[in-house]
Chain length 342, copies 4
């Protein structure tokens, strides 16, 4: 099948390679000409402009956008007028599903089909395949099946769930039509919200393991410090890289995120190469917004999001309010930081 790819960053560049390797014909474009040049290989045609890309595609055209969420509207505004009725646009980036609903309506007025695809897999996706969560018109999604099947990991990626007998389901191959416009990015949004929660669970647990030696440390004895009542219970020097590697085998908490953690700890056991300022790219926030709109309690996913905010200093003023109150009622003065660079 033929497909035009717009956006050749880490994700888009890998995806066109996986597609051409799978026998599809790709036309690739990026605003940066050198990004196009970098991906050129047999089976892949470069485009020098949106117009050039559109010209090189047969009707009904299939154009996949793999762009930062903030760039999608502008790209659509330029692309849509170049397309014809019946063409298909796929937004495979991290768009907010509410934008999909709006854009789908806009495109429909031009008789262009709009499909939203939440794409998980990260930089490893080229080899492992991508997990695709898809929203849009049923027939259009069915038409694109060959593309999705190539991008997805395939049924043999993991053992089938025992007892499943759904030969028509594509979930087993790693892609799924989740519902109408926006459904793909809605499911991807919640997927990322869960991801934040799982990541945070490991992070908190590893932090507890790392501090299992606090009983060995001499603590201050002033009124501003809670003494550790049972230092004898916190005398362990635990080897985090080894424990992460261990848990990968046979434990209940094995996962791909744990695999990545084991790898990171192997290369940098104290993670001193990181400052611990954790970005968030929107989906975690939108997940909480959805939870609140639905009146669904989401304390874990919220805590995971807030930990990222706090890591960037966004709790500082609140903390100052607490110190000011403590000074007010108890005359407590703040303790100086013990650690200079922490």
């Amino acid at each position: 099948m033929q497909l035009g790819m717009i956006g050749l960053g880490r994700m888009g560049a890998n995806m066109v390679q996986r597609l051409t390797k799978g026998g599809h014909e790709c036309v690739a474009y990026d605003v940066q000409a050198k990004a196009v040049k970098a991906v050129l290989h047999p089976g892949l045609v470069g485009a020098s402009s949106l117009k050039d890309l559109v010209a090189k595609l047969h009707q009904p055209r299939v154009v996949w956008l793999m762009l930062p969420a903030a760039a999608v509207d502008e790209a659509l505004a330029m692309l849509a007028p170049l397309l014809d009725a019946g063409d298909i646009i796929i937004d495979g980036g991290n768009s907010y599903y509410r934008d999909d609903i709006r854009r789908g309506t806009e495109m429909k007025s031009r008789q262009i089909h709009y499909v939203d695809v939440g794409t998980s897999g990260g930089v490893a996706g080229f080899e492992r395949g991508y997990c695709l969560m898809i929203g849009g018109e049923k027939e259009v999604v069915a038409h694109l099946a060959p593309i999705f099947a190539t991008l997805a990991p395939g049924v043999e990626a993991v053992p089938l769930t025992a007892g499943r007998q759904k030969p028509d389901s594509t979930a087993e191959q790693g892609y799924l039509h989740c519902g109408p416009q926006g459904a793909g990015h809605f499911v991807k949004m919640v997927h990322n919200g869960i991801e934040y929660g799982i990541m945070g669970a490991y992070a908190e647990g590893l932090n507890i393991l790392r501090n299992a030696n606090v009983g060995k440390q001499k603590s201050d004895t002033d009124a501003e410090t809670t003494p550790l009542r049972n230092p004898e219970y916190y005398q362990y020097e635990l080897d985090l890289p080894e424990i992460a590697e261990l848990w990968r085998r046979g434990s209940v908490i094995g996962s791909w995120l744990l695999d990545l953690t084991a790898s990171a700890l192997l290369n940098d056991p104290t993670l001193e190469n990181y400052a611990g300022r954790v970005s968030d790219s929107g989906e975690g926030r939108w997940t909480i917004t959805a939870a609140i709109d639905e009146a669904v309690p989401a304390p874990i996913l919220s805590a995971a999001l807030y930990a990222r905010f706090s890591s960037r200093g966004d709790a500082d003023f609140a903390d100052k309010v607490l110190s000011a109150m403590r000074h007010g009622f108890g005359g407590h003065l703040e303790k100086a930081a013990k650690r200079q660079q922490d």
Copy 2:
């Protein structure tokens, strides 16, 4: 009534003054002789040693300890042998109620009565009176009523709850026998746990108000930054000192902690005199321990405690784990800190 006070810090020094002003006869001792000197005034007798203090008290003696929690066991070890059967020791500090249970048993073997008193009121207590949460033997607590009545704020401190007709209750005066040994400090422990939660609620809310102008700030447009979708909704420059003062009148969230917050913001509207490293003195932790032992959910009180931990840098390693994972699956690099001094 006669009472010996051991420990003349911010709390103890104020309390003996309130007691002598109320007509009681106090003998005061502190390991630092100058602390004794500083509180001397008509009606107050100084003691030069524990032995001297004990000698100056009539039997059955009443000795009140107002010491840091970590110093109580040592003081008891020195004091108890100097006392006689029937004497009374009161621990009015911030002891863990589990220590009260142990100490009560130890003192009982010497026929000394042990009473635990959770004392709230802070540095303002001298004028406002102290809220006293009391654990111990019923008759002993009853015997000490004149002391408690003087230290407590009294019935006129706030309007009586409508419909109350409990003339025998001392709660209305501001002191209460809560139960056997440890009950006083148990109730005080939970009191402080609640205090953390209330303080944190104000702190979070004020932080949200303070950032109501984020729509005016130019944000980065890279993939590591979630763009604000509706900057037009965050254009407010709110005057926090005025709002805190406002809320003190007629609002549902009026409280003494709000009064203190209004005062702190008046004197330092941006709280730049504080670094935001918030100590915790044990009760918040013990409250969570109790909640968990009882299987009572305490998400708010826990969140308040964790905010204090995080304010001291104790989440840093967990944050680094998150950054390391993000780098692992998405190739994300951390963003440098935007703010130098925040």
Copy 3:
């Protein structure tokens, strides 16, 4: 000053009474004629329709809406065409501040001034006065000062914060112009978010106190039940109504919400008249939305909101997922509920 009041529920009815008592001239209207009849008293004129209300007001008219948030847009649509340029509409209910921004713009196109007022005080406001958080044009707000001053509690409601010398500030009287359109309801929204947090802190703490007797209960000894390791530490039967009354005097956690709690516990010590299905009226949700948009961590305020969701059964499906997983990896079967009516 003359004012038209639309909406004579619990809040509106009390407010017109406070206003006429303060010397203002009120014209009152409600869709339910008997609500109008119920509030009629000297100084108060009833209106039989919106048109009648408008006719009875002098220009520039001042009309105060005290309606459920969901009814405001419809009321505005009917009212605005009846008004003249220069008239003033005040929305004193619990509107979302984003609606204020929209409505203010709509009214501006008709040359009608729009003022949003967050009103706190509840049913007690008639006597205590109302805390008013105001958004809108500066001159218009200034023009309305006599109304606000009468509704607010006044400077003597609580002692002035020590050191304040802001004779021009109205915060001390209990009303404040917080900023442009929406600022009043923004501040009120966060006020309510804080309120949820404070309420939740008391609720969790009281729950911990109530369960201080778990050590007396016989617990199951099967593998699905965590045994209490130290039952000797949980032997207290605490008297919650007395403790709540006690804390009202001299403690750090005294507040109006505590006063209400003491009153509720006095009348119903086990609160058996309540089922514990806690509603939320929107502001708590919007506060979290604002926190997330601003990237401000709000774990306490979120936990308070989620507790309400959970109280209504909204966590049930998530809980079933947990049970299903436990069955999957450990063969664990759910324990039957121990308590029938709990």
Copy 4:
């Protein structure tokens, strides 16, 4: 190697089978004779009593306890007098690591070696192998290596972490000597704490997906119900069993717990066979206790624990306090439950 197994429940019975299959000689005992009978097979010798078991083992004996945590102390008290100096006891159950420290000291006074092993893997462990977290004396643990190697999944269970070159490490095989007495169960405790967090993240996310259709539901319009502002964004009927299956392939959140979830949803898409009363078996609580002792923030792991408490009705009284307060300040009456069977 020869090993005596005490306790032939779900875990112990599977483990002796895996051991004999791996060439070890097992002597098996359970208080229930029929449990012994049930596991008998070639290579496995049954014992009719502790004494019989001890008699059938060569010195230095190796005895593995696989018992409920509450039964270990009693078993040790009966077993230890039957053993000789140099014998080895392994506690492979879910003991609290603090008990290991105490027991290790007690056994040392009898010159018996004590080893604690946190065992993960659940009922699937017989086939997948068990992840073993081990605490105790270095030489003793080394002596037991053949046992651990057979129980563990082995190095080929998952691909080796890229770049690892630690031929002496046993983590790659799925077992690890984590440190002195208690270290094994400490690491297992945190492992389970993380497990709670991960489970909760999936559960919350699936609950959000399940409610993506709330925009289709007619909601009440009274003051006690927050209206959904944008019902058009919540019109999705998502197929949870398919989505769980989908995420198993190529997504960032793939894990064994997700595999189990997909299986559970396949068999019971609405999980109506579960009531959602989620037990907790201690490790989650102990993890939070450790976090608090170490001053490490653990909001996610705490939220996961509290969700379980709440699922069992333990927040009910706190919820009633909230309803009582709301009635106090706003005259709000509780809404009746909408759903009968939820």
